[in-house]
């Protein structure tokens, strides 16, 4: 009973804020709605007893990815909403996407009956989703992908800093003279 209530609470919040992401006109409000969507989804993870994964979701997505997103929004100075012109082409485009998505959903859920019947769950152990189970798998069976993940992350570090900034003094000076570098207060 309590769990069902909790499910509906999280599901409603996730849906509500998910809607907020696309409806909010201020990009900052959108981004924060997305943060709340992640937190609500983490609540759904709790229902599956995947507490560790729930917290990973909060720490990485709400705590790190979205901070970056918000920094980008501030950096690009997008806080003013620009009115969207609804041309005929755009209207048809939106209509097409909506119809297509609806058709896709109906196709995917054509077998689901109207009442709530859950698909049969694969047998999972009580440890599923816990840090220990993940560690046991990650550091034995999936050791190679794990090590490759570090290479990927390193590539991401290098790529990010190379794209974001050129600290070579000559280039900075060159950019400053053309006024291209963001001002540094």
């Amino acid at each position: 009973m309590a769990a069902t209530l909790f499910f509906w609470l999280c599901a409603f919040l996730a849906f509500f804020f998910g809607l907020g992401v696309i409806v909010a006109r201020n990009p900052m409000h959108s981004a924060l709605s997305l943060v709340m969507t992640f937190v609500a989804s983490a609540g759904l993870f709790l229902l599956l007893h995947a507490e560790f994964l729930a917290w990973i979701l909060i720490i990485v997505y709400s705590g790190a990815v979205m901070v970056l997103m918000i920094f980008v929004i501030s950096l690009l100075n997008l806080q003013r909403d620009e009115p969207i012109e609804f041309t005929a082409a755009r209207r048809w485009g939106v209509a097409f996407v909506v119809v297509f998505a609806a058709a896709l959903l109906i196709y995917l859920f054509r077998d689901a009956s109207v009442g709530f019947t859950y698909p049969p769950k694969p047998a999972i152990s009580a440890e599923w989703g816990s840090a220990k189970a993940i560690a046991t798998d990650l550091f034995t069976r999936y050791l190679l992908p794990f090590e490759l993940a570090s290479v990927l992350l390193t590539a991401a570090v290098i790529g990010a800093v190379v794209i974001a900034r050129k600290p070579d003094p000559n280039e900075i000076n060159g950019m400053e003279s053309t006024g291209e570098e963001p001002s540094n207060q």
Binding site: M1, A2, A3, T4, F6, F7, L46, L47, L48, H49, E51, I56, I59, V60, G63, A64, V65, V67, L68, F71, V72, S74, L75, L76, N77, Q79, F116, Y118, K121, A131, K132, I134, A135, T136, L138, F139, T140, L143, F146, E147, A149, S150, L153, T154, A156, V157, I158, A160, V161, A164, R165, P167, P169, I172, N173, E181, P182, S183, N184, Q185
Partner: protein, 143 residues
């Protein structure tokens, strides 16, 4: 086959949730208390942006320094790294029992590769908050 009634949140999390609701009620109560007692007398000068008594000039939403963005992206990547280390740390002793010294070296290699990334940023000066040429010119350290 499980029925929906069998899904449950563990007891500890339910209690934590109640505590969180307590916190929300407490914060809401504070705001309501404040609303009941506070005077309300706004006028344009009072509601204007504080800038040490001067009229505010320009938009407050400045385009700030890109170094904040670099720090944010480095944080994101190293945060993911920390979250890889944490399950390894918790399971370290058990892994050592089953894998032996490999349990140590697999994380060592992981950290070494990521350490290379950090070393790259360091050597290339991306961790510097003050650029070298500006430091030489004696300019201010930035925001």
């Amino acid at each position: 086959m499980e029925t929906p009634s069998e899904i449950s949140v563990s007891l500890e999390f339910s209690i934590a949730l109640i505590f969180i609701l307590t916190a929300v009620v407490f914060v809401g109560g504070n705001l309501i208390l404040n609303r009941l007692f506070r005077p309300r007398n706004p006028y344009p000068e009072k509601n204007s942006t504080y800038e040490c008594g001067e009229h505010s000039v320009g938009s407050p939403w400045i385009r700030f320094n890109i170094r904040y963005y670099i720090i944010a992206i480095l944080f994101l990547i190293f945060d993911v790294e920390v979250l890889f280390i944490i399950p390894w740390a918790v399971q370290f002793k058990k892994l050592y029992e089953s894998l032996g010294i490999l349990a140590f070296f697999e994380m060592f290699v992981f950290l070494l590769i990521l350490g290379l990334g950090l070393a790259y940023c360091w050597v290339k000066g991306h961790l510097e908050w003050v650029l070298k040429d500006r430091k030489a010119a004696g300019s201010n350290p930035g925001i």
